[in-house]
Symmetry: D2
Subunit: 144 residues, 4 copies
């Protein structure tokens, strides 16, 4: 498993949105449970796609899904109840059949974690498909 470059790009398409830490996101250590950051990564992907003009809901409505084939996260500092998480999301890699969307999550200026997911594209029979052209167009435009 090769983890693609996770550093935030200096230019190009990226999206920032905020999510509040709820009590149910924390655990008995008093901090956010490690698996829950992956839910915010999904929120970040979803908001990145919406902001780019290709909401994931429109992909789903064409009978396509984008299953995660790899995911990873590096935790730097804890997040706590009521923290206002700043989630930065960007496309870190685009290949024929997979796309990597990466994230950094901050509380204020403090880095909480960084990570991402590699997604494929399948139709409703489960057959692998090329990444949707609308997504490809946007990414290529952004990176060109």
């Amino acid at each position: 498993m090769t983890i693609p470059e996770l550093s935030q790009p200096q230019y190009g398409l990226q999206n920032v949105h905020f999510e509040r830490v709820r009590f149910g996101d924390t655990d008995a250590a008093g901090i956010v449970y490690y698996a829950n950051f992956y839910r915010w990564f999904e929120a970040g992907r979803s908001e990145l796609m919406r902001a780019s003009g290709v909401p994931y809901a429109s992909i789903v409505s064409e009978g396509l899904f984008m299953p995660v084939v790899e995911s990873w996260c590096k935790y730097r500092t804890p997040a706590r109840y009521d923290d206002n998480l700043k989630i930065i999301s960007w496309v870190a890699e685009l290949k024929a059949a997979t796309i990597v969307i990466a994230h950094e999550i901050y509380v204020g200026d403090r880095l909480v974690c960084k990570g991402g997911a590699r997604l494929a594209c399948v139709d409703d029979t489960g057959r692998v498909r090329r990444i949707h052209p609308s997504i490809r167009d946007i990414v290529e435009r952004a990176l060109s």
Copy 2:
């Protein structure tokens, strides 16, 4: 909203199974987060149906779903990390279009919570259907 009788029946069909409290089930108060008991209620319903010979998966495979139309829970004492939850489940009510499945959750002899859910039955177009005959048969046999 009328909450049906939640007391554990003295006789008839009931199912007992165990679930371990994981760290991710707890919150920053050091106890199980209140919403997570509803996940174990679902586990209890699922195991009750399997034990009764009508696994929920077989209902789903006929294109039917049993959406929850009401749910409730009364919390008595906290559950903590690594507690071994004893989940007792039974049918508390059966009507033409809805079924109530109730639960008590214990740690050892200590009651943690009691609650349940009223479920309807819908087909894959979302149309309301009568409760599946296999379920009805089992409940009626158990209560007769």
Copy 3:
């Protein structure tokens, strides 16, 4: 278990906020999993308290917690991926040792569910305490 009046009050303190349905909130029936609404109820309580000037984090920082002693929800229509949930929250009842916070969740004008929770107040040794005076003041002012 007596379910307090859940109808939205015609006047007085209430709070509205929005949450987006994420993929992880849905289940294999294609709709929001029933337990997840309780997480949004918690978000609603939290935002109601913040808007009222007594954020729950300030209660916690005094070594107090407000455990849920009862919760309930009545589901009317499904919510789906990417729906923008409008969560209305208000104090439905205030007694010496418990407070009921109720909610209605809408997608547009369509009611998705209504429900709530009764909360107590305990200190960090688990001993029951009266509802925090700051909360009492706000509610009494709002209802007077």
Copy 4:
């Protein structure tokens, strides 16, 4: 981020346990939501530690926590409602301040995913500590 060797060891300490996929674990694509496997990884870690004679609860009761500093997962085939997940867990690496616990999850003979987490050890003030001697002893005995 260097992902340690994830291949299942041919010998030495490993633990197998089972978890049932519940409806709440699935998403609208009809399969298990990607973040939920991390909850089962935690269950796997927990059961591995219990089976090794050092339950995580005993670590916590000494005022220590083992926060996750990295996590990763490679998804091969989907898991679905009611699948009986076989979770294999083992220690993949032990250093002075971190331990890597890796997992493979199967449904029958079919590999669903593989992944793991690197954990550190901190005391209740958040200060980094060496991995607990009881854990070290067990791992070194197992690998010797």
